[in-house]
Amino acid sequence: MGTQNIQPAIVQFAQLDKLLALGRANSLWPMTFGLACCAIEMMATGASRFDLARFGAEVFRPSPRQCDVMIVAGTISKKMAPAVETLYDQMPEPKWVIAMGNCAISGGPFVFEGQYGIVEGADKLFPVDVFIPGCPPRPEALIEGILELEEKVTGSRRWPRVEVG
C-alpha cells in the first residue's frame, strides 16, 4: 500500500479548512497501545523529561474510537496483525499512523530468509503517514515524527528545520 496519498476534497473552504487542519494538527491524541520495546520509548516521551504534552498530544486515549493517531511502536507479529488491523479500522476518520522503529518500518532485525512470524512493516497492513527510524528511536525522534505529522496535516512547519552540519 505504501505511503498514504490523500486526494483533496472536491468542495474546499480555504480559510475554514486551514482552521480545521490547525485544530487537528494541534490535538493529535495517540492510542494507548504498544507492541514491543519501542513502546518504552513512547512512554518516556510522555513522561517528564521529554513531555509530549507541550504539543497537546499527551492524551493517550484507551479506546480507538477517541484516537487520532496510531503509533505502531514495535514488532508486529503475524499473530498480532489482525488485532492491530482491527484497531486501525475502529478509529474514526481523520486518522493517521506513525510507524515507530525499524520493526514497524520493515521488520527490522527479524527479516531473514525463512522467517515465518513477523509482518515486514506496518505499511503491509494499512497506510502509514510518518516513518521514524531507530532501534528504538529516541523520544526526540518521536516528537520530531509528531511534528512531521503536524506539518503533513497543516502544510506548514512549526519551527525551521535544524540543519546538521
Binding site: R24, N26, R54, R65, Q66, D68, P92, R158
Partner: protein, 336 residues
C-alpha cells in the same frame, strides 16, 4: 408593547449559565492537563497559544470535525441521547445556584432538592449510554457506576439532610445567609450544631468525588481494566459532550459544597480589608475553584481504589458515620 424585564433577566441568565458551564467544562480540561503536568514535573500544554490556553479550543475543533461512528448493533436512540442526559442536568442545576446574594437565576425554595434530584439523572445518562452502546466493557462499567451511585448517594443525602435540619430551609440563598459573619460561622465549623461537622464536610467531599466519577473512585472509567468504560464506543463530540458533562458536574458539586459548608459568597474576614473584606461573587468563585483544584490534585496523587474497597468505604465507614452525625445533630438541636 413592553417586554417583561423578568423574561429578559431569565434569558440573560439562561445564556449566562450555559456559557459558564461550557467555559468551565472546556477550561477545566486545560487546568487538569496543566496541573497534572506540574504535579508530574512536566510543563504541560504550552505550544498552542500562550500557556497552552488555546488547547481546549483546538481540541473542540478537532472533536467536532471528527467522524461520529454509530457502531452496528447499538440502540440508536439511547446511544445518541445519553451524552445529552449527562450534560443537561448539570446545566439545569446551575439555575438554582446562588453565586451571590442577587446573582441567582431562580431562587427556588426547594433548590437543594432540585440539585439532589438532577445529580442522579447524570448517572442515568452514563448507564443508558453504556447499555445502549452494546459493548462488554461499557456494560461492566455501567454495573459498577450504578452500585457506586447507590452506595454514595446515601451518605451524601444524609449529610444534606443534616444540614437542612441545621439551617431549617432548603433555599440555597437562605442557607448561605445563615452562615454570615466570618469563617467561624460557616457550617464546616458549626460545632454548636454538631461536633462532627468537619467530618461531615469530609464525607460530603468524598461522596462528591465518587458521584462525579473522579479518581480515586473512577471505577466506571478505569482505563487499565475497562478500556474507556462507558465511553468506549463514543467518538468525536459524543465523547466530548460526556467529558464536558463530567466537568460541569464537578463544578456543580464544588458549588454545592461551597454553599452548604463554606459560607457561599461570604468573606471569611468580614469588614477588615476594604475590598476583600466585602462579601461578593469573588469569594464564591475562589472557594469553588479551590475545591475543584483539590479534586484535580487528588486525582493525580492517589491511585484508583479497588471496587470492593470503594463499596466497603461507603457501606462500612461513611454511611454509619453520617447516620451518627444525623442523630447527634438532631439530639443537639433538641437539647439546646
Amino acid at each position: 408593547m413592553t417586554l417583561d424585564p423578568e423574561i429578559i433577566r431569565l434569558l440573560a441568565f439562561l445564556v449566562g449559565v450555559i456559557a459558564f458551564a461550557s467555559f468551565n467544562a472546556a477550561y477545566l480540561v486545560w487546568l487538569e492537563r496543566k496541573e497534572a503536568a506540574h504535579i508530574q514535573r512536566r510543563i504541560g500544554p504550552k505550544e498552542v497559544g500562550p500557556f497552552g490556553l488555546l488547547q481546549p479550543l483546538v481540541d473542540g475543533i478537532k472533536l467536532m470535525t471528527k467522524q461520529l461512528i454509530v457502531p452496528a448493533g447499538v440502540d440508536p436512540v439511547l446511544f445518541k441521547i445519553a451524552p445529552i442526559l449527562v450534560m443537561v442536568p448539570a446545566i439545569m442545576s446551575f439555575v438554582t445556584i446562588p453565586f451571590s446574594e442577587t446573582l441567582v437565576a431562580r431562587n427556588l425554595d426547594l433548590g437543594l432538592l432540585v440539585i439532589s434530584a438532577f445529580a442522579s439523572v447524570n448517572f442515568l445518562g452514563l448507564l443508558l449510554g453504556a447499555w445502549g452502546s452494546r459493548n462488554k466493557y461499557a456494560v461492566i462499567s455501567a454495573g459498577r457506576a450504578f452500585s457506586q451511585n447507590v452506595a454514595y448517594e446515601i451518605p451524601m443525602l444524609v449529610i444534606v439532610v443534616t444540614l437542612v435540619m441545621v439551617s431549617g430551609t432548603m433555599n440555597l440563598t437562605e442557607i448561605v445567609g445563615l452562615q454570615m459573619g466570618g469563617f467561624w460561622h460557616w457550617n464546616i465549623l458549626n460545632l454548636a450544631a454538631s461536633p462532627l461537622m468537619p467530618v461531615a464536610f469530609l464525607i460530603f467531599f468524598v461522596c462528591m468525588l465518587a458521584e462525579t466519577n473522579r479518581a480515586p473512585f473512577d471505577m466506571s472509567e478505569a482505563e487499565s481494566e475497562l478500556v474507556a468504560g462507558a465511553f468506549t464506543e463514543y467518538s468525536g463530540m459524543g465523547f466530548g459532550v460526556f467529558f464536558m458533562g463530567e466537568y460541569a458536574n464537578i463544578v456543580i458539586g464544588a458549588c454545592v459544597a461551597t454553599i452548604l459548608f463554606l459560607g457561599g459568597w461570604h468573606s471569611p474576614f468580614p469588614d477588615t480589608i476594604p475590598f476583600f473584606g466585602a462579601s461578593s461573587v469573588i469569594w464564591f468563585l475562589l472557594k469553588m475553584y479551590f475545591i475543584i483544584f483539590t479534586v484535580i490534585w487528588i486525582r493525580w496523587t492517589f491511585p484508583r481504589t479497588t471496587f470492593y474497597g470503594l463499596l466497603n468505604l461507603s457501606w462500612k465507614i461513611l454511611i454509619p458515620i453520617s447516620f451518627v452525625n444525623l442523630i447527634l445533630t438532631s439530639a443537639m438541636l433538641k437539647v439546646f
